[in-house]
């Protein structure tokens, strides 16, 4: 160590008091004398309080601020349409799929001259509204869409504009390659690929896809395709047949469905007029609703199937019973007439094949009001039927249910149900007596058996098949009795209510058919709203001539598609239980020998 120089010594001498003070302060700062501790602790506590206050203020500020500063990445992730699983039909044909498209976005903060940008962009994309775009670009957000889903050519032109702050993002666009086929079942999505109707909405409700879970886009590979119960070819045949019939009979609307009676699967469902889910347009239009699920109608004579099944199931009536239909049935100041009046005593099969209102009403009266209500409740006709489709309708049930209500409901007036609900009931009546909710997803017979519950006995079910077959050979369903398919069917023609009265010339026709009647596989429903009679049919507009004929057409088209060609021979023993009871094939002879 060297000796301090004289100059340094002088400096030390001169600033003795100053250095001493510094030394004293330093020593005091690091000394651990007890009398100083209290002040220090207070000082540290104060500092801590100040620091935590600062943190609290920042937290409140973050919590209160509405518009957190967005990075472009986060904004883009939230805005871009998420991927959705493909929808397939039961055979694997594509009903809905995603394709990648490019969308143009802008970051207004990076755009130098907004007016110039608007001018250039609208020159390339003429369908973008200039005023609206200017407003969007004037916003303080870091991310706005300019145009979603541009074409390749538009994309190149925008790219060559070289505007700073304008870029492209790949997006998923939902496409429906089959256009309007099955549109009411498939549904559609909005611009952000969120399902807003049909099975598309159902998928979102199942949270299979949540396209906008904060900042995390679903990988398309993780989205397994979803198979529906629909058959695309059968759906096309149904839509085509319905549309031809609708033009031919100049009807206001048409609808139809095909259901597998053993599993409750809907094979095809169409309602016309319909829409193209690629471009849904005005979907609020009440004319374009799904009439099978959302419409509620008086099903007319097709409802007699339920009334007869109820009477047979109650044991008060058997196939050979006789029902008096000689005179119109009076109740108070109401009179019930038959459309094809016979004025004689009818057997039970004749009540069905002649579609006797009087007979059906009398049979319902035998069961009584409470029994009738309980049976319809059991058949699911009085409650809202919910399927996978988000769209459903509440049946219109009379508030006060008198004997008159029972009489009219017995032949299909006074109770409005959704057609799919009526199909569910008829399917249960013919499949051996097992009721199960219809489904739009594939369902095996084993699954169906666990879901189903028995509503009528096997014998009643066989009687219903017998009656439906008899109606095809002897009754009003003749036009649908296509050789080789052993069809059974029932017509229904309901007068529409116009200004509170049943109209004579405006009708709502329905037709239900089963194939084959001895062991049904498919239940067909065809409905027409206000069909007109044709001169070659004698001007009749009843269900047999429109809905019935279209169903016949449909059976011929659909059955071979489903691998069920026509058979040249009748089944050997179509109705074994009834044969054992002594009823022959010829329903006209039942109860007469």
């Amino acid at each position: 160590m060297s000796e301090p120089s004289p100059t340094a010594e002088e400096a030390v001498g001169a600033g003795e008091s100053w250095i001493g003070r510094v030394k004293a302060t330093t020593r005091a700062l690091f000394s651990t004398r007890l009398d100083k501790s209290g002040g220090r602790i207070r000082l540290i506590a104060l500092a801590m309080v100040a620091a935590y206050f600062g943190v609290a203020v920042k937290l409140v500020a973050l919590g209160v601020s509405h518009d957190p500063p967005q990075t472009l990445k986060v904004a883009a992730d939230q805005a871009v349409s998420g991927a959705r699983p493909d929808l397939l039909d039961r055979n694997g044909a594509i009903l809905a799929t995603d394709v990648k498209t490019m969308s143009v976005f802008a970051d207004p903060r990076l755009i130098v001259d907004k007016d110039e940008a608007v001018e250039l962009i609208t020159a390339v994309l003429p369908d973008v509204d200039a005023k609206e775009l200017r407003e969007r670009l004037a916003s303080k957000k870091g991310f706005v869409w300019v145009k979603r889903q541009v074409t390749q050519k538009e994309r190149e032109e925008i790219f060559h504009l070289g505007l700073p702050g304008v870029g492209f993002l790949p997006e998923n666009k939902r496409v429906y390659p089959n256009g309007p086929l099955g549109a009411h079942v498939i549904g559609f999505v909005d611009k952000d690929n969120v399902g807003i109707a049909g099975m598309e909405k159902y998928l979102d409700q199942q949270s299979l896809t949540d396209p906008h879970v904060a900042g995390f886009t679903v990988d398309a590979d993780a989205l397994k395709p979803v198979r529906l119960s629909l058959d695309l070819k059968a759906t096309h045949a149904l839509r085509d047949a319905l549309a031809i019939g609708m033009a031919r009979y100049r009807a206001k609307a048409a609808a139809g469905a095909i259901m597998d009676v053993d599993t409750g699967e809907i094979i095809a469902l169409e309602s016309l007029p319909d829409f193209d889910p690629n471009n849904p347009g005005d979907v609020k239009d009440p004319e374009k609703i799904n009439r099978v699920n959302v419409g509620v109608y008086e099903m007319g004579s097709t409802f007699k199937a339920l009334s007869l099944a109820m009477a047979l199931e109650s044991g008060k009536v058997n196939l050979a019973s006789r029902i008096d239909a000689r005179d119109s049935l009076r109740y108070g100041h109401f009179t019930i007439h038959d459309f094809h009046a016979t004025h004689r005593v009818l057997t039970v099969p004749e009540v069905f094949t002649h579609s006797s209102n009087i007979g059906a009403a009398r049979m319902a009266l035998m069961v009584g009001v409470e029994g009738h209500k309980a049976f319809l409740k059991k058949m699911g006709q009085l409650d809202r039927l919910r399927t996978e489709l988000p769209e459903s309708a509440e049946p219109l049930v009379p508030k006060r249910w008198s004997e008159l209500n029972t009489m009219t409901i017995a032949f299909g007036q006074g109770l409005n149900v959704a057609p799919i609900q009526a199909m569910m009931a008829v399917a249960a009546l013919v499949n051996g007596g097992e009721l199960m909710a219809p489904t739009f997803l594939p369902r095996s017979e084993v699954e169906a058996a666990t879901l189903a519950h028995r509503v009528v006995s096997a014998q009643t079910s066989e009687s219903m098949r017998y009656l439906l077959r008899a109606n095809a050979t002897h009754g009003s369903a003749g036009l649908a009795n296509i050789p080789g398919y052993y069809v059974g069917g029932k017509t229904g023609t309901a007068d529409k209510i116009v200004h509170g009265h049943y109209s004579q010339d405006k009708v709502f026709t329905t037709f239900m058919a089963i194939t084959p009647a001895d062991k049904p596989k498919y239940l067909y429903l065809v409905m027409y709203d206000e069909p007109q009679g044709l001169p070659e049919d004698g001007g009749y507009h009843t269900a047999a001539y429109n809905a019935g004929r279209v169903t016949g057409e449909l059976i011929q088209r659909v059955e071979p598609l489903e691998g069920r060609p026509p058979a040249s021979q009748f089944p050997d023993q179509p109705f074994p239980l009834l044969a054992r009871l002594g009823y022959g094939y010829d329903a006209d002879k039942v109860g007469k020998e």
């Binding site: 594509i94 990648k100 390659p177 070819k233 071979p560 060609p565 026509p566």
Partner: protein, 126 residues
Amino acid sequence: MWRFLHVVAIGALIASAAYVYSVKYQTIYASEQIVKVRHLIAKERDAISLLRAEYAHLIRPDRLQALADTQLDMQRLALNQVVKADDLPERPVKVDSIGRKLESLGLLGQSATPNAGLTGATPSLR
């Protein structure tokens, strides 16, 4: 001796450092390649899904029906076109129709055609 060991140690250090760097850059290169291939796969997938959608659009039933109606002469399957195997006629006995015709014309026996052997073109079998 120590100096030599130091040199060896320093050499080993430099060599291992060089090796580590090369491994690191190879890894970076490989991961870049992986990203590139992933992008290519994603691109191909998008292209495939686009083609599938296009194909589904082209084979939609209403288009096929319109084409079949104009291009093909097909009929609806009806009962009279369906035949059971039992209803098919028996397979006919195989007949040598040419031989029978020759016989009926009396040509099957010895003909008057001059023997080929006489022409000398082919050796006679007699």
